[in-house]
Structure formats: C-alpha cells, structure tokens
C-alpha cells in the first residue's frame, strides 16, 4: 500500500514538473497573449546558454511578484533548441523557483519566427516585448535589464 502511495506521489510530482515548462508553438504563444485575461504582458526571450539572460531572469520574476494582484503577466520564453527541453530547460527551471509562466518555443525556422516576433529584432538574446493590450501597443527591446531599468520601462509603458 505504501509503495503504491509513493508511486502516486512520484507521478504527481513528475506531472507538476512537466507542467512547469510548456513547449509552445508561436501561434499558441500569440493566442496565449490575445486570449489571456491580463492587459499587460512582459514577454522575455532567453536561453539557458545565455549568461546575461540568466542574470536578469530573477528581475522578471520579481516584476511578476510585485504585480501579482494586477492584470500583468510575465511570460519567460526559452529559445533553447526544442531537443534540449527535457535535458536542459526543465531541470534548469526546476532548480530556480520561478513563479512566472515558462515556455520553450517549439519552432525551428529562426529566420521566420524572429521576424514574426519583431521585424526590428536581430535575433540576439536577451530580448523583451512589453505588450500593453489596453493601449494596443508593443515595445520591443533587444537589451539586458537591471531590476530598476525593467521597472522603469514597465512603468513608462502603462
């Protein structure tokens, strides 16, 4: 009986971990934003191999925590190769206790998806889109942020 219970617990925890990072197509990411109930989205593009990205991930999470009762959503979208999903990205996110939603972009044609995300983007990481759905505006930044800069940019776009 005890062992069945353990198996059950392990299965549940595996399920939770698997849910922690979602593989997502660009179409579905766009839908996640357009059908979401929040009015402001901060979409940060990062990768496990990108040192400046890892440095600023906690700032994005801090921004999410600071606005947890507001219609503000931080989405952390990894551009690691889809084949690294289980080996690299899931363990990386498990180690860091992030509260924001985390995705891995399940697309292979970078030339196409970079232009779709933002025509002004060279593809370099980190990069962040600030989407204000109330005002119907999107600002795209190809740069790193400190928490202070991130908060100032976020506030300036309200």
């Amino acid at each position: 009986m005890k062992s069945i219970f353990t198996v059950f617990i392990v299965l549940i925890s595996l399920h939770i971990n698997a849910q922690k990072v979602k593989l997502i197509k660009l179409n579905d990411l766009e839908k996640r934003i357009s059908n979401g109930k929040d009015t402001f989205y901060v979409v940060n593009y990062w990768a496990t191999w990108c040192a400046p990205c890892i440095k600023e991930l906690p700032y994005f999470d801090q921004l999410q925590k600071a606005h947890k009762d507001k219609p503000v959503k931080v989405l952390l979208v990894s551009l690691d190769f889809p084949s690294r999903y289980k080996k690299k990205v899931v363990p990386f996110i498990e180690k860091r206790k992030l509260t924001s939603e985390v995705f891995l972009l399940d697309e292979t044609d970078q030339q196409a998806y970079i232009d779709r995300i933002s025509p002004q983007w060279s593809g370099a990481l980190p990069a962040t889109a600030f989407i204000n759905r109330a005002k119907n505006t999107t600002q795209f930044f190809e740069q790193e942020f400190t928490y202070k800069e991130l908060l100032a940019t976020f506030n300036s776009l309200q």
Binding site: W49, F81, D109, Q111, D115, S122, G123, A124
Partner: protein, 203 residues
Amino acid sequence: MKKVLSLILLAFFTLTIIAQNTAGYAIGDAIQPFSLKNINGKDVALSDYTSAKGFIIVFTCNECPYAKAYQDRILALDKKYAPLGFPVVAVNANDPVAQPADSYEKMQARAKEKGFTFPYLSDPDQVVTKQFGATNTPHTFVVEKNKNNYTLRYAGAIDNDTENSNPQKTRYVIDAVDALLTQKEIPVTKTKAIGCGIKWKKG
C-alpha cells in the same frame, strides 16, 4: 582657412569610414583580403588561394551551442565546395579574455577533435570580425574572388534550421555558392545571423 577646412573634411571622412567599418560590408562591397594566424602557427591569407573562385568565411567559436550545432555542416560545406573553388575559412570571432573557452589552445583542441579540413584562424584584436560586421557565432559570408577583386555576395545564416531537424530547410549558403558556380542570381543575399552574440574585447 582652406587648410582648416580640409582638416575638418578629412576628420569628417575619417569618421565616416570608421562608422562604415563598424557596420561592416554590405552585399556587393569589395572586401579587404585579410591574413590571420591559423591554429598551426602559420598565417593564412586569402591571397594564398591562387586558384580559388571565392570563399565561405565563417565567424564562429568553440562553445556557443549554435556554433557547435553547425560544426558538421561547416565541415560538409568545405568537403563539397573546396574542390569546386570555394573553400571554407573559419575565424574565431570571440575575445579569449571575455570567453576563456575560445583560447588559441582550445581552438587547436577543437580543430583536432573535429578534424577540421579548413583553417581555423585567430583574430585576437577582432579587426577582421569588425570589418565584416559579424555579430553572432556562427555568421557566414560568401565572398566571390575575381583575380584580385573580392566581393561580398551573401551574409547571414548557413540555413534556417539550426537543429538540423527539417529536411525541407532553406540552405542559404549552398544556394548562394551554387548560384555563383553556375552564374545565376543568388536567391537570398542576406539573412539574420542566428547564434550567440560575439564576445567583444573590453575597454
């Protein structure tokens, strides 16, 4: 007065040239044939290749996952196109202080491990990397050679499928070199270079 004016003009032109250099070559520009130190200690110059019709110049590095993902495809490009007159010339674009994994010794080790058939050149002051306007690793430039003239014909990604998972991928570099070899128009002359940002020397 005239002298002052010409000095101002000279300063202005110098600045313009510097500004152009940081932006790098545009498609159709003449490029400066360079000479850099290879992993065997000997200098390699583009002008050494007397019978080449052109070059596939790849700015790359040792550790970036994108650069590593393309290693075998770069080897395949050299194997196929060096005999046809378009050899690969690889340049390590990263500053070894900013990225210790890109030291000269580690370049030697990587070339040996992967059996590079092409030169893997060190650009310690990143002069050539800046001249080309390379931004990412890998960043590929197809150059056509006509006697002593070197002309940039393609710049950007090798193909549009870093993970090599889509058999229907668009192979930009292959398409460009094939077009040059058959004297046809290159279908796509510029794409975004996908990969890690180049680690620049500080100060």
